[in-house]
């Protein structure tokens, strides 16, 4: 145990520590992904003939494209609902006493402590024909016949928003916590109203949290196979179910692989838009 070489930079760490995880990812993530790509480049289900047929089939088929489109739209809707509902909670969290903070954080985290399947079944009970919403509306005399809530886009968005909410709220809480509260007061004392302060000071400074929350919620919402299929039913087709259908029921693995790759790229594109926005916001926040 001699002295460390003089040239060693104390702020740099050896890559060795990351190696186990890197290796794990290489073997169990990168390798299967490459296999998926390899499979998707075949025109027949046996995987013998090379070609771009699967991609052509998907990209020239209006139906497949509409499935992709509706999935991406679903993600946007869920993200928007989460943002609009989640932001006030995060904002509130920074302005209440420690006891209320504990309660808020518990409420935010509670959904994460139950399984997605359980939460989704709860939504079936809530949205069903004789569910809580319909029963309440009927007993209040607002509606005569039960509304159709289950197996609709609306139902899927609401259920997914609740299921994915913590992914939005937690980054927002962190981001808002980093903002110096004096800035608010400064803005007000310089004559800006509450809304002006919010849009010119709080929102720009919290943008990194907004971006992080949106990315997480979006990615989770569009891939949520269980909630999508249980609340959306069999006639609302989103990408995960489309994939499952092709891979599992039809055993058409090359097409299923192509769908996964296209889906992956589409999600990456959306996420990179978020990240670019995040980079821009950092410039904005610093200005």
């Amino acid at each position: 145990m001699g002295t460390a070489p003089a040239s060693r930079d104390v702020t740099s760490y050896g890559m060795g520590l990351a190696a186990p995880l890197a290796l794990f990812f290489l073997v169990f993530f990168v390798a299967p992904l490459l296999q998926l790509l390899w499979l998707s480049l075949h025109n027949d289900t046996a995987g013998l003939h090379w070609g771009l047929g699967q991609y052509l089939h998907f990209l020239t088929d209006p139906f497949s494209l509409s499935v992709l489109g509706s999935t991406l739209l679903l993600g946007a809707e869920v993200t928007l609902v989460c943002l609009v509902l989640g932001f006030p909670i995060a904002w509130l969290y920074q302005r209440v006493g420690p006891r209320l903070q504990t309660i808020i954080i518990l409420i935010v985290l509670l959904p994460l402590l139950t399984s997605v399947v359980v939460r989704t079944f709860a939504w079936i009970v809530i949205l069903g024909r004789q569910g809580i919403i319909n029963a309440t509306l009927q007993s209040l005399g607002i509606i005569d016949t039960p509304l159709r809530l289950l197996y609709t886009q609306f139902g899927v968005v609401i259920a997914l928003a609740q299921v994915q909410m913590p992914l939005m709220t937690l980054p927002l809480i962190t981001a808002l916590g980093r903002i110096d509260p004096n800035l608010d007061d400064a803005s007000c004392s310089l004559g800006a109203g509450s809304w002006r302060t919010f849009f010119r000071i709080v929102l720009p400074l919290s943008l990194p949290g907004v971006i992080a929350g949106c990315t997480l919620t979006y990615a989770a919402a569009i891939t949520a196979f269980i909630t999508q299929s249980l609340i959306g039913g069999g006639q609302m087709l989103f990408m995960p179910m489309y994939l499952y259908q092709q891979a599992s029921t039809l055993q058409n693995w090359p097409f299923a692989s192509a769908i996964s790759i296209i889906f992956l790229l589409a999600v990456l594109a959306v996420v990179s838009v978020f990240t670019t926005l995040g980079r821009l916001s950092r410039g904005y926040g610093g200005a």
């Binding site: 139906f63 079936i124 024909r129 004789q130 197996y151 959306g232 069999g234 006639q235 489309y242 499952y244």
Partner: protein, 348 residues
């Protein structure tokens, strides 16, 4: 753990025997693996089939590894030379896929003591059928006062917004569409009339479930009052107190042959054969026919009783007359095109 002289002796003898007959330990390298279906099938097989098999075969080691047909096929495909499963259980569609991909062995019919007792529809040389799954009409007796009698009843105006179906991912959904097509003059090769009928059913449709299991939830939640349904799934719901009844439509109940197969290159081929033999015996099938399992037997020596005799068929002759078997070879040829069409056309 307490070691007494007897258990020590048994262990020593076993070890000695394994040393003396290395073939013995090789054969026991891995216990017999039977990939049954998940849920109630697993329960029934664990409680009835496994004990019967072990009793007949000197307590031979075996494990149940429940999984879906498609997973069974994927697993065996991934290791064809040394498959991790010895006995597979399949619905008619996947069975043909497994046979087509050369994953199963022909059943040694001439060696079998029970194969000839099976009713002719269950005698499949690539793997016999130890039980049938039956699809008929399911309804909520509290909401539907006059029991339905025909598939055509689903189109009645009184069921506006009350009907549930499943999409074509499941055997049930596909088989039902074929039956509807047949009712309107179509066949396994031509389901156009079926799709037209579905179009007309839309005002009545309340839900298109992603899988048959979801139908059960919809009944429980009062989302639907009538749907095509699997006899066994309904019995489970009924046992839990959900108000549902099953009725075989007058066009005939759809029967799926669930077939059981010896996996090609299985290291436990002999035991696999013995397990399937056990599944074909009248004793095992009789026990499985009785509550709580209510599994439809295929051995003609089983005397029908209980709920099955009441709702489905009193004896083999009636069963043959009331059950409709479909040509899944034909269905498989076009199934992917149908699924695609269903995806596009059925939006409610």
């Amino acid at each position: 753990m307490i070691l007494n002289r007897r258990s020590l002796m048994t262990t020593a003898l076993t070890l000695g025997a394994m040393k003396a007959f290395p073939g013995l330990s090789f054969a026991q390298a891995r216990p017999l693996v039977f990939a049954t279906f998940t849920g109630s099938w697993e329960e029934a097989h664990k409680a009835v089939l496994v004990p019967a098999f072990r009793k007949a075969n000197a307590d031979a080691a075996m494990v149940l590894d429940p999984m879906l047909s498609v997973d069974q096929i994927a697993k065996v495909n991934a290791a064809k030379a040394n498959p991790p499963i010895d006995v597979m259980l399949h619905d008619p569609g996947p069975a043909l896929v497994a046979i087509g991909q050369d994953l199963v062995e022909p059943y040694p019919v001439e060696k079998s003591a029970y194969y000839k007792d099976l009713i002719s529809e269950a005698q499949e040389p690539m793997g016999p059928s130890p039980f049938f799954q039956v699809v008929g009409l399911t309804y909520n007796p509290e909401a539907v006062k006059t029991p339905p009698t025909s598939w055509a009843d689903l189109w009645k105006p009184e069921f506006k917004g009350r009907v549930g179906i499943t999409n074509l991912n499941s055997t049930l959904g596909t088989g039902w569409l074929v039956e509807i097509a047949k009712m309107r003059g179509g066949s396994e090769a031509n389901v156009d009339p079926g799709f037209k009928a579905l179009e007309e059913l839309k005002p009545n449709l309340s839900a298109v479930a992603a899988n048959p299991g979801a139908l059960a939830t919809l009944f429980q939640q009062g989302q639907i009052d009538i749907s095509p349904g699997n006899f066994n799934a309904i019995q489970i719901l009924k046992a839990r107190g959900v108000p549902v009844e099953f009725v075989a439509p007058k066009e005939g109940a759809i029967a799926f042959k669930t077939t059981i197969h010896i996996v090609k290159n299985s290291p436990n081929r002999e035991l696999a054969f013995k397990l399937i033999e056990a599944a074909l015996t009248a004793e095992v099938q009789t026990t499985l026919m009785n509550p709580p399992y209510l599994i439809v037997p295929t051995n003609s020596k089983v005397a029908m009783g209980g709920e099955i005799a009441r709702v489905l068929a009193k004896d083999t002759a009636e069963l043959k007359q009331k059950f409709v078997f479909q040509d899944w070879k034909k269905i498989n040829e076009q199934r992917s095109a149908w699924i695609e069409r269903f995806n596009r056309e059925i939006k409610i």
